[in-house]
């Protein structure tokens, strides 16, 4: 309300006061949607540092912390009710797919409520390049387009990329070794590292976290922690390697026949945990089943899947409705292969109306672990399947705590071996000082940014976006808020995603003079109070 009254009042004032030179309307106060300080201190602080920088430009900035998840998520994703939002997108293996942080976020076709283009950014070149890379299966050829796309985005600045906080976790080295540790973006949560964990106590590896498993039903899952644990129990055709490249898991070979046809050869002789063999029928069943029953999370990834055809015992053909390069990582790399002999009759057996209601507390999967017990809200115990081709080394015990603080304390005391909960950046040295604790720093592929509402009254001006980006005290944020434990990035595809990241782009720097010059060049002016005015 206020936002609409003020410019009007300002306009009336300026027209009556006969200013010597032409001055546009005063830039209205910037509504900066951010996180509540209490629980998300670092996100909130980051936004407050950004706001301070912008105030130097003559902008009036109002921080608007909203409770998370609601209504903050609602304002962020559904209502797009902000001028700037403190966007913090978490990393995930499948988000290594370059489409996710570029085209999916900035293509004007994705501006609907609930979709990813929350800033309602629209640019023809971005749309065009985005569409183009989707149809290129050859990684190198596709890479060129993705790099160019990043360049265009760098110029247009739909958001100011701050960087990503390094996620630091720790283990108790007295009880645990991880000989084959790989620096995956998801660190100790990565299946590649969990497979490598060796318990020195002869017991299961005890890992502390704060979130309980929601369910072991892959059709019902929709949060990251659920998928992590599901992938211990169920196999996928493809698994994203720690380096961001797809690796074969159940698949032994993948051939892109043409833009809309992909053939997958299945690993031979693998069985489910109940001893039944895993066949091409199970694979076809799984994809058809997820699509037929509209598993909520997978809906988007199965949209372009037209048909699954069993070529012969070991080969499955996927027919797509249109070219979709992310299909391999996003679809083959995410759909779990479930046994047809269990799920095929689950509705009749249990009397539920759809498979999403199935609790699946005793899951039968082909993965490297099987579920031993699940004390809901307290503990989950996975027993390793020694004969699995991924060669798990120890049993895993996930212990659920009420808060991250307690997980940290329990690790310090030796009650648990691993803290899956990232340590708050500023306490890391305290953990490092303790001898038996070993620190793991991981560089996630998620990132923080100030996302402008590019369709909004204020940030529809490209120059203002560019100037705002140059008025952010990046170094201070990294040093003071994130305790130095952060990497910066110029692009939304962060450096850890090395293959797709465009490293030719210079990091944006805090340069208030340059920022002001950009504004001057674009015709912005300041009044006697130092408040910024739009160009005439």
């Amino acid at each position: 309300m206020k936002r609409y009254v003020l410019p009007l009042a300002a306009a009336l004032l300026s027209s009556s006061s006969l200013t010597a030179f032409a001055q546009g309307e005063k830039v209205p106060p910037v509504d900066f949607l951010t996180w509540p300080a209490a629980k998300y201190q670092h996100y909130y602080e980051t936004s407050s540092y950004i706001a301070e920088g912008w105030r130097e430009l003559g902008l009036e900035v109002n921080l608007n912390p909203e409770p998370f998840p609601n209504p903050m998520l609602g304002k962020w994703f559904s209502e797009h009710d902000f001028d700037v939002v403190m966007s913090v997108l978490s990393g995930a293996p499948y988000r290594m797919e370059p489409d996710f942080f570029t085209n999916a976020q900035f293509n004007s076709a994705h501006s609907a409520p609930g979709d990813w283009n929350v800033g309602e950014f629209a640019d023809e070149r971005v749309d065009e390049l985005g569409k183009k890379q989707l149809a290129i299966y050859d990684a190198d050829a596709r890479r060129d387009v993705v790099l160019e796309l990043q360049e265009v985005l760098y110029d247009l600045q739909p958001e100011a990329v701050i960087g990503s906080a390094i996620s630091t976790t720790a283990i108790n080295a007295d009880n645990l070794e991880i000989p084959g540790y790989v620096p995956a973006p998801d660190g100790l949560r990565s299946i590649w590292n969990q497979l490598e964990m060796v318990s020195l106590t002869g017991q299961a590896v005890k890992m502390g976290q704060t979130i309980d498993q929601a369910s072991f039903n892959p059709l019902a899952a929709n949060i990251a922690e659920d998928f992590n644990n599901l992938s211990l129990i169920y196999d996928r055709l493809i698994e994203l390697g720690p380096d961001g490249k797809p690796r074969n898991r159940l698949a032994s070979n993948i051939i892109v026949v043409d833009e809309t046809t992909i053939d997958v050869t299945l690993r031979e002789g693998h069985t489910f945990s109940d001893g039944e063999p895993l066949t091409a029928e199970d694979v076809k069943f799984s994809f058809d089943y997820f699509k037929e029953w509209e598993a909520a999370y997978y809906k988007k990834y199965l949209e372009r899947l037209d048909e699954v055809i069993i070529q012969d015992d070991g080969t499955i053909r996927f027919k797509l409705t249109e070219a979709y390069a992310p299909f391999i990582l996003h679809t083959l790399g995410q759909v779990f292969i479930v046994p047809e002999h269990v799920w095929g009759s689950v509705i009749e057996d249990t009397g539920i109306s759809k498979p999403q209601e199935f609790r699946n507390t005793n899951p039968v999967g082909s993965g490297p672990y099987s579920l031993n017990y699940w004390k809901e809200g307290q503990e989950i115990y996975f027993t390793r399947r020694a004969d699995h081709f991924m060669k798990p080394k120890s049993d895993l015990l996930f212990v659920i705590f009420g808060s991250a603080e307690v997980v940290g304390a329990a690790l310090k005391k030796g009650d648990i071996d691993v803290s899956l909960q990232p340590l708050v950046p500023t306490v890391v040295d305290e953990f490092e000082a303790q001898e038996n604790l070993k620190i793991f720093r991981t560089y996630p592929n998620g990132y923080m940014s100030a996302r402008y509402k590019a369709s909004g009254e204020i940030f529809k001006h490209k120059a203002l976006r560019q100037a705002a980006t140059a008025a952010i005290p990046y170094e201070k944020i990294v040093d003071e808020v994130l305790g130095g434990d952060a990497t910066r990035s110029a692009s939304s595809i962060v450096p850890i995603n090395a293959f797709w990241h465009n490293d030719s782009l210079p990091l944006p720097e805090y340069d208030i003079e340059k920022a002001k010059q950009i504004l001057v060049d674009a015709g912005f002016t300041w009044d006697e109070n130092g408040a910024l005015h739009f160009p005439e």
Partner: protein
């Protein structure tokens, strides 16, 4: 008597019904997109629609309400949006955890408060009395979470006497849940939150006992006993205290109910997997079937406590007659 009972039961039921209804509509009628509190807006729009249908949220509001009420009559609280687990199963265990923390500590606090309160009334005007009143009030005036934090700081982190939180040690969870409550490990975890809660809850019974005792001591029959030469400590614990216990006993159920409601804070500090913690988590996740159910359960305990206190008061106090 029967009419009194029926009336009180009817009032309690009415109270619960209004709360259930209020809670149901509060979630759906407050400003903002009602489903935004239910389904993560970050989900792909089509996925949102699918989820809405899955949870029955595509039905008209009044239908949802009737379905909700109908299911409540068979103790079906719906399915958690987060875990997809029937809420009833989820909260049952949590409630037991809350009760094993709150009940013993409250009863102990009452017991201790009554004894000390009676003794201090006897020694009224002494320095010890003044000090204890101050201490008890100060403890009651301290935010219980802060007390808990200091306890963790000192007893767990510094002296390493107790675990920092949680209900059993990781990996020590027995196969059957009931076994847990009888394990030493469990008691070890219970100790610190138990002590903190006792310290916090001690004040009320202490002051109540002290003031009732002070008025009891002034009564004639105590003087009479004294004149008859009954020993002082016998007068204290036999005559005076017995007659002062009534107001204390009758408030216990009500205070218990309130303590359950207040367990939210202490469970959060000690990461105690009880009903209160579940509720805070569920609020954070907008998992409102769980919020509604745990709220309802806590409400049943508080309403039940008040009801019980009312009935006890009526039963135990000969001066009260039923209307």
């Amino acid at each position: 008597m029967r009419r009194f009972l029926v009336k009180r039961l009817w009032h309690a039921a009415l109270t619960l019904f209004v709360m259930i209804t209020g809670m149901f509509f509060m979630f759906r009628l407050l400003p903002g997109d009602p489903t935004a509190t239910v389904i993560s807006p970050a989900l792909y729009p089509k996925a949102q629609a699918a989820l809405k249908a899955q949870f029955g949220l595509d039905q008209p509001l009044w239908m949802q309400y009737f379905i909700y009420l109908k299911n409540l009559t068979v103790f079906d609280f719906g399915v958690s949006f987060h875990t997809l687990r029937p809420v009833a199963g989820e909260i049952g265990n949590r409630m037991v955890n809350t009760l094993v923390l709150i009940l013993p500590s409250m009863i102990f606090a009452y017991f201790l408060g009554a004894l000390v309160g009676a003794y201090m009334a006897w020694r009224r005007g002494s320095k010890a009395e003044g000090l204890l009143v101050l201490l008890a009030t100060a403890l009651q005036s301290t935010p219980v979470f802060w007390l808990g934090m200091l306890a963790i700081l000192f007893f767990s982190l510094k002296l390493d006497l107790f675990p920092v939180g949680h209900i059993v040690s990781p990996g020590k969870f027995p196969q059957a849940t009931w076994q847990m409550y009888f394990s030493l490990d469990f008691l070890h975890h219970l100790a610190l939150p138990f002590m903190v809660n006792v310290a916090y809850q001690f004040c009320f019974p202490f002051l109540l006992m002290r003031s009732t005792m002070l008025s009891t001591i002034g009564e004639d029959y105590i003087e009479l006993a004294r004149m008859k030469g009954v020993p002082e400590n016998k007068i204290l614990y036999h005559h005076a205290m017995r007659n002062s216990l009534l107001p204390l006993a009758t408030t216990l159920p009500m205070i218990l109910g309130w303590a359950v409601a207040g367990s939210v804070v202490i469970e959060t500090v000690f990461s105690w997997p009880g009903l209160g913690l579940l509720m805070v988590e569920a609020v954070g996740r907008s998992d409102y079937p769980v919020v509604q159910a745990s709220f309802l359960l806590i409400a049943v305990l508080t309403v039940g406590g008040t009801l019980l206190a009312d009935l006890m008061y009526g039963l135990l106090d000969p001066r009260i007659s039923y209307k």
